[in-house]
């Protein structure tokens, strides 16, 4: 029989998980590359987690419903105008017997639009399983995601698309030369065609790695556990050894997260 038993109901488990989400902090990924419609893009991203309601399911499942993933993605685009617009050629212009030749205007070099920053929150729900284990000198109870959830994008995605559009059009007009105005129109039409769905398709593979291996740590203590901290030069720390640790979900009239431990002096 274990020496110590600690239990938390779903309300307390939700708060324990909230503490673990905050402790996870901001995760980063990238740099990476992707495609948004015809535009190639490089990106770096960061994400943090918060919220969600916990449903405890025996024997060891924690369902987290409506967890928020707040993301910030910095995207750089390269616009190759030769792939977006036909070449502009000034036709021959004649006065009486004198005509200028046709002059085709060269494309400007590819335009780099650096660091367009977009951010919003997506939500997801997923099952996690409890994983108590010893890592070096420490006991951990991890809550580890079972499978990759579907990300639900919010209404802010449309704003992100507008932010990208604004940055691309501004760059087109600033650096596109005589192609600038036509390029700006083409970009607007292209982004409208890409739409929110296209942007979600671009962001999905960027954000999914943040959740595909998502693990929260709800318990972390050294195996040599300081039961009473030191309190002066004559009162050293009182340690006990946690020789075994387990975590399960028990169902009675309430579903509870139950942590048990055996200790030795």
């Amino acid at each position: 029989m274990p020496d110590i038993t600690a239990a938390a109901d779903e309300s307390a488990a939700t708060r324990l998980l909230g503490i673990a989400e905050a402790a996870l902090g901001t995760q980063k990924s990238g740099p990476g590359t992707g495609s948004l419609g015809p535009f190639s893009a490089s990106y770096s991203a960061q994400a943090s987690f918060s919220g969600g309601a916990v449903n405890l399911k025996p024997p060891n499942i924690i369902e987290l419903a409506g967890c928020n993933l707040a993301y910030s993605v910095s995207v750089s685009f390269t616009l190759d105008i030769s792939k977006l617009l036909p070449q502009i050629c000034i036709p021959p212009i004649c006065i009486l017997n004198f005509c200028t030749p046709q002059i085709c205007l060269p494309y400007p070099p590819p335009i780099t639009v650096p660091s367009v920053n977009i951010g919003d929150t997506v939500t997801f729900s997923a099952d996690f399983h409890l994983n108590p284990h010893l890592v070096g000198p420490d006991w951990l109870i991890d809550v580890k995601i079972n499978s990759i959830p579907q990300l639900r994008f919010g209404p802010g995605t449309a704003g992100a698309l507008a932010t990208i559009g604004g940055a691309l059009v501004a760059a087109a007009l600033a650096e596109g030369g005589v192609y600038g105005p036509a390029l700006a129109v083409a970009l607007g039409l292209l982004l409208a065609a890409i739409g929110v769905a296209g942007l979600e398709g671009f962001l999905g593979p960027i954000l999914t790695p943040f959740v595909s291996r998502l693990t929260f740590t709800i318990y972390e203590q050294p195996q040599l556990y300081p039961a009473i901290p030191a309190a002066g030069p004559f009162d050293p720390v009182v340690d006990v050894t946690i020789t075994a640790l387990d975590a399960v979900v028990q169902a009675t009239d309430k579903n509870e997260l139950v942590i048990t431990a055996s200790i030795a002096g």
Binding site: A6, I228, T252
Partner: protein, 211 residues
């Protein structure tokens, strides 16, 4: 019935676990069980606590003394057979220890050719088994609160009463230093805000609250 019942969190420690914690505490901090005046404990250390001698007229330097307890073991309700001397009732515990009282016995002598009084001190001691019964109390830690002490050795009535009271007072002071933080009874799983308990039942101490 759920463990948390009408509260959000629950923590419990078994009788065996509590004995492990008490043993670890008094092993790391033996001075909680060893006290003595300067003849026996020159200065406070991890091993022993220095106390003042008892001042008395004509006793140079005061009466030198020492008290030592063995590491107590605890029995939570319901009583084990070993606690038959003072079995714990509902929501109670019984601890078993032994106490050694030591007196620095002084003798005074004067030689015919030396008017200065010679003082010699000879430690004399006796040991008694002690049973103590009480409940758990909390401030923001779990504390053993002793209500009653019994020493099974047969003693004259008045002396037994005096020693019962003296040992109860000293033992209470000693075990009060071994207060267990609430996090200890959840091995750090969460910071327990106590709302109910700790109560003793089924050979374990239980507490309920929130985080």
């Amino acid at each position: 019935m759920s463990l948390t019942q009408t509260n959000h969190v629950f923590a419990s420690v078994t009788e065996q676990g509590l004995n492990t914690l008490l043993h670890a505490t008094f092993t790391a901090r033996p001075r909680y069980l060893n006290y003595g005046s300067s003849l026996f404990v020159k200065t406070t250390s991890v091993l022993a606590t220095n106390m003042q001698p008892i001042p008395f007229p004509g006793v140079p330097g005061g009466i030198q003394w020492a008290v030592r307890f063995t590491i107590p073991t605890i029995d939570l309700f319901p009583p084990d057979a070993k606690s038959s001397t003072l079995p714990p009732g509902a929501n109670q515990f019984t601890i078993k220890t032994s106490v050694t009282l030591t007196l620095g016995c002084m003798t005074f002598s004067a030689a015919p050719d030396n008017p200065t009084v010679q003082v010699s001190v000879n430690p004399i001691a006796f040991s008694l088994d002690v049973w103590a019964r009480g409940e758990l109390a909390t401030t923001n830690a779990v504390v053993l609160q002793i209500d009653q002490v019994r020493m099974p050795q047969v003693l004259p009535g008045g002396l037994e009463q005096v020693l019962d009271c003296l040992i109860r007072m000293i033992l209470q002071a000693a075990v009060s230093d071994a207060a267990l933080p609430l996090t200890a009874i959840s091995v750090g799983a969460f910071q327990l805000i106590l709302q109910r308990g700790p109560l003793i039942d089924a050979d374990q101490a239980e507490a309920w609250g929130d985080i």
